[in-house]
């Protein structure tokens, strides 16, 4: 099983999938920080003064990390960042569901009007799994 996960094709496929999702998600949100700040504020977790900074920063983190990962640069560091982001997102989604918030996810900016819910949670769990495969079993290119 582990040798399968270390397989080059599995590694490459997982890396490209994770990177592509975040590049796609990052671009739209980075281009429209105003829309994304609304999505962030909908979760009603961050204080007002942190909302816009978060909306400015997170998309660029997704984008930079996604691009670096796509090109195989700093694979461990970037897969760690993206997996950690996914875990944070899922915590936020679970909190939103528990609080009964009927809000848009904001995950892909305004491109998808997907609501926060179990489907999103499942998608993210799948991506967390993919991220962990990349993080754990990628050849350690970080030691340069």
């Amino acid at each position: 099983m582990i040798s399968l996960l270390k397989n080059n094709k599995i590694q490459l496929g997982s890396r490209i999938l994770l990177a592509a999702v975040f590049i796609f998600a990052g671009i739209e949100k980075a281009a429209n920080p105003g829309d994304f700040s609304v999505a962030v504020s909908n979760y009603r977790i961050l204080p007002l003064f942190l909302i816009n900074i978060t909306a400015i920063f997170i998309p660029w983190l997704e984008l930079s990390s996604g691009i670096l990962l796509l090109f195989g640069k700093w694979i461990k560091a970037n897969s760690l960042i993206l997996t950690a982001l996914l875990i944070v997102f899922n915590v936020l989604i679970i909190v939103a569901i528990l609080r009964g918030l009927d809000i848009e996810c904001g995950c892909f900016g305004t491109l998808d009007a997907q609501m926060v819910g179990l489907q999103k949670l499942a998608e993210n769990f799948f991506l967390i799994f993919v991220g962990l495969i990349v993080y754990k079993f990628s050849p350690d290119s970080d030691v340069e």
Binding site: L48, N52, I53, L61, D102
Partner: protein, 171 residues
Amino acid sequence: MSRNTLNKVALVFIASFLLGLTYNFISPKGIPLIAKEINLKTAGIEQLISKSPKTETIDEVEFASIVDLATAYGIYEKELAVFVDGRDNWDFAEGRIKGALNIPEYNFDDHLKKYSAMDRSLNYVIYCGGEDCDISTRLAKKLSELGFKNLYIFPGGWDEWTAANFPVEHD
């Protein structure tokens, strides 16, 4: 997790933060670093009855007023405003406040011409699903940017309206 990896994580964080700040600074769509609190005032029905439309420049923070369920129903009964449903056309088709017009917020920018041509002297009561959805606030903001001045947001929206058994229709 090696120290080396953590250093790289920190570098990517810092670079992304700086990129975000720079882009936000040069982009026309940039936002202030600290958000302003939106504090819309609540309007009574008399505000809509006064015939003269608002002409003063719209404060960036006060682009619309809020109406509660009772006021919204009063407006509906006296036909003082056009009701605007900001949800997507599927939700709209499934059920809406009777006589409401659909302006889906998510693709607003694709139909700017159509929306610009609407009568600016009319009052518009904008709503969406209910308290949790912010579509109506976003839509009001967009309409105010097109120069509409008589905008009212009904935050209770579809949820409150249907809970009160007020008139609805569907396709």
